[in-house]
Amino acid sequence: MLRRDFLRNLVITTGGLVVAPTLLSACGGTSKTSSGGLVIGTPSAPVTLPLSGEAIADGLPEESGTIEILNWADYTNPEVIADFEKLFGITVKQSIYDNEDAAIAKLRNGTLQPDLIIGMTDTALARLVAADLLQPLNKTYIDNFGNLLTGLQDPYYDGGSQYTVAQFIYGNGIGYRTDKIDSADLIAQGYDSMWNPAYKGRLAVPDSYRDAISLALFQAGVTDVNTTDAATITAAQENLIRLRDATQPKVDILSYQEIPAGNRDIAYMWSGDILIAPWNLPEGTSTDVLGFWYPEQTITANDFLCIPKESKAPVLAHRFINYLLDNDVALKNQSYVGYQPALTAVNAEALISSGAIPESLVDAVVDAERYASGQRLVSLSPETDALWNDVWATFTAG
């Protein structure tokens, strides 16, 4: 199960409560103030985040006992965790989050007090820093830092990786069944394929408004996926409605299961999801039935690891980050999570030769060049975000 899958299921298992954490968090707690504003980096305007507090000193011994990790569900290979526990003679305890905003609210009011956070993205980072929740990293504990893709050693959202270390990378593209859709035909159609009525009822878009609306923007030739222009956003809405009327799409995050199961033929999806799809193929089905078109203009993204300011086991947290950046450990982790580690050595060749992914999906692998050339989704102002929300609400209203 992927973290997004878990997100969905956890929301479902809450049993239809309409007063969700976001609402509840508004009604109490001892949240820190929101003053100070957000420092948001973009690829064209990278930021070095203001330092708050000091990193731990060099050469400290590891803490004993337990390290508590805040993580998405099934987002770290249990074998990797067990190996780490053995290596340092400690116990790893995991808390699960299903929504970055809700997790930040709980970190702010002290409900969650982890020693290490796994899997947050740059849209959350600005808020984590504004709330003064993170401690600067001491890279003398992270010998494997150099294994990261060069572009991610000094990311635009956290110049110098002062607070964060990148973990997984992915790009958006179109996953499809090669036995149902001719690859050459699909590539010739490009983004237009998502508007092709021939795929009506067999097509899906991700249940993620930023990604889905960006699809409509790309198809119309707009590359600014953080646009604040109301006319452009309205045009994207009309474009999405055209897609809806032409193809009657499913709106979910299950394409990594549904495409291999043969229940749908084509979907706009995250590359990490198609990399995990072969494991969901029925027995005896060749992996060749899975294809992925990686667009020239698309979104690339990554998540990261970071250590809360109040971590009670900061040395172990640094050690765990270092452990996850080890090439062999990262490959082992990928074999369970599916998403691609942001490491130079864990490239297409390594993933294929280790059997982690089939050769037919080589196009879903994001390399340094692709990562650098991709568009990034960054935090929008509340006013602009409201416009994007309205587009999505209108699209899903049917």
Partner: protein, 293 residues
């Protein structure tokens, strides 16, 4: 006498405190969120506790959308789905409850337990089982294809969502209906028959009116959660064709930076359900009076 009244009033205090703590205060909090603002940095809702400073701009937008915008279709669809599911629930549930109360004899508890037993399994697990059964390669779909019925049940079909709601909520209709019918004075039916009514007339003129309060209670009991349901649609369809009000609330509260809109939709739904509840209370009060007479 006055002392006795005080004691009886005192006994109502825990219930009143419960209502105040778990309904009135949360509902007021929802209103404060609905008419409040959001934190521009953390996107949390900032409730406006002072009603004099409530901001109704978002509410006007949502109301306009519900009357003439995209939300209108969602409201209409939700009502159609819920009413259709309720009607099917009654078609299935009433005969079962009637049989259990009237004809099951000593086996009624055993039969009731057997009927309810599948519903001891978690709702989510039951729906996920249906997803497996209804998928194109699932057992049910393959079985139906033997009869030439090749229908993709999970292809964003309104029928599947309505049937999912029926399956999920029908036991909650059977139980109160059974409770009502089980304690009904069946001598009234016998009297009607003795006076020349056919069995159909006795059912229509005696059984149904007598069971009216139970019918209304059962209807309210299943309608309330069905109106707010979003996970049945999420699991069985997840298509814009079947979007329900609960899905929009879920989006605005959990995944958008406009939690106020979610809170406003919660309030609108609550008002609509309050109207339905008032009807129920009035109808049960009327039935009570008629029975006293």
């Amino acid at each position: 006498m006055r002392r006795n009244t005080r004691i009886w009033n005192g006994l109502a205090a825990p219930g009143a405190a419960w209502l105040l703590t778990f309904f009135a205060v949360p509902f007021y909090a929802v209103a404060c969120v609905a008419f409040g603002s959001i934190d521009p940095v953390f996107r949390d809702a900032i409730p406006q506790w002072n009603p004099l400073q409530w901001d109704f701009a978002q509410a006007q937008d949502v109301l306009a959308s519900a009357l003439n915008g995209p939300l209108r279709g969602v409201f209409i669809r939700t009502f159609i789905f819920v009413i259709a599911a309720m009607m099917i629930c009654f078609l299935i549930g009433f005969p079962i409850a009637y049989f259990l109360a009237r004809h099951a004899g000593k086996r009624r508890l055993l039969l009731l337990t057997l009927i309810i037993m599948p519903f001891w399994v978690n709702y989510l697990m039951r729906m996920l089982s249906w997803v497996n059964l209804l998928s194109p390669s699932g057992l049910f779909s393959r079985f139906m294809s033997n009869f030439g019925i090749d229908y993709n049940w999970l292809d964003g079909s309104p029928i599947t969502v309505v049937l999912g709601l029926v399956y999920g909520y029908v036991p909650f209709l059977i139980l109160p209906l059974y409770a009502t019918l089980e304690r009904m004075d069946w001598r009234l039916v016998e009297a009607a028959r003795d006076l020349g009514a056919s069995s159909r007339q006795a059912f229509r003129l005696v059984t149904v009116p007598t069971a009216k309060a139970g019918v209304a209670a059962a209807a309210i009991l299943i309608a309330l959660p069905m109106f707010g349901d979003y996970y049945t649609n999420d699991l069985l369809s997840r298509s814009p064709k079947t979007e329900m009000l609960g899905n929009q609330i879920d989006f605005y509260i959990n995944n958008s930076s406009q939690p106020q809109r979610g809170a406003i939709l919660v309030m609108m739904l609550s008002v609509l359900l309050l109207i339905a509840l008032s009807w129920y209370l009035r109808s049960t009060a009327r039935v009570g009076k008629e029975q006293v007479r």
